[in-house]
């Protein structure tokens, strides 16, 4: 496990930069992780997805599938891919400070 510095704090991350411990995450880190992954300013719609990912993970211990994300988060799949072109579930999880989703769907 390596470490990274986000928003001035040193956190443990996996090989792809996902936070190992969601408790270490802060909102300031989200902006920095987003910028490092090619996203510009985070909009309210981005936040709706990020918060949904984080809440689901903290409640269930697993990141939601892209299907659930599209149905329940209030952001439809088309828009999810516009907001996070390099993969909504993966990228939103990274920005939300939760481990990389392991689902195939």
């Amino acid at each position: 496990m390596s470490t990274a510095t986000y928003a001035g704090a040193v956190v443990e991350v996996d090989a792809e930069g996902f936070l190992a411990d969601p408790a270490q995450w802060t909102e300031e880190m989200a902006h920095e992780i987003a910028a490092q992954n090619g996203l510009g300013e985070l909009t309210d719609r981005h936040w709706q997805v990020i918060n949904f990912m984080r809440d689901s993970y903290l409640k269930t211990g697993a990141a939601p599938s892209i299907r659930t994300l599209g149905k329940v988060s209030g952001v439809p799949i088309k828009e999810l891919y516009q907001l996070f072109p390099k993969g909504p579930a993966k990228l939103a999880a990274k920005i939300a400070g939760i481990p990389k989703p392991r689902g195939c769907i």
Partner: protein
């Protein structure tokens, strides 16, 4: 005397990431269609540019008349470990398909029509094979709205240029 071949790059060098895939779905049974759809959806989830090309009975996945009625092959499918004579009884294929659908729903795997729509919404291109469409007398209207076009094999290779091709 032979000399050892020198490695031109360090052994731990990471291979380049896949950036584009074109997936061909050629079979019309449930077990013939799902793997290609899962590969396509998974590719888009990783941000990989994706095209789906449906040929022969694989076109059932995008046919308005058939996409809701795709079944598991109950006869001639040794993996089911079911006697062939039993698999041929009316309703057996439907029953097995129904059971499987229930299990898939538990794992959050959508039914084929919803899955195909999801993949289209994710930005993947959906194409029907011209030779197969001609063979079965199918036109653009016979396919679901998400189908971008009916294309030739040559056009498919054009679309697939610069990426990997996966045949299922």
């Amino acid at each position: 005397m032979s000399e050892a071949v020198a490695f031109t790059e360090p052994r731990d060098a990471k291979p380049a990431a896949i950036e584009k895939v074109s997936i061909i779905i050629s079979k019309g049974s449930l077990e013939g269609i799902y793997p290609g759809l899962i590969m396509a959806n998974g590719a888009r989830m990783e941000g990989i540019e994706t095209n789906l090309f449906f040929t022969f009975f694989g076109m059932d996945a995008i046919s308005k008349a058939r996409h809701e009625h795709v079944k598991v092959a109950a006869v001639g499918n040794p993996a089911l470990h079911l006697a062939t004579w039993l698999g041929g009884f009316p309703g057996v294929a439907t029953m097995i398909t129904h059971r499987l659908a229930e299990e898939m729903e538990k794992l959050d795997i959508p039914p084929i029509p919803e899955f195909v729509e999801m993949i289209s919404d994710s930005g993947a291109g959906l194409y029907a094979c011209k030779a197969s469409a001609d063979l079965f007398g199918m036109r653009k209207d016979d396919f679901i709205d998400q189908v971008n076009d009916i294309i030739t094999v040559g056009e498919f290779y054009g679309l697939a240029a610069g990426g990997q091709i996966i045949f299922t």
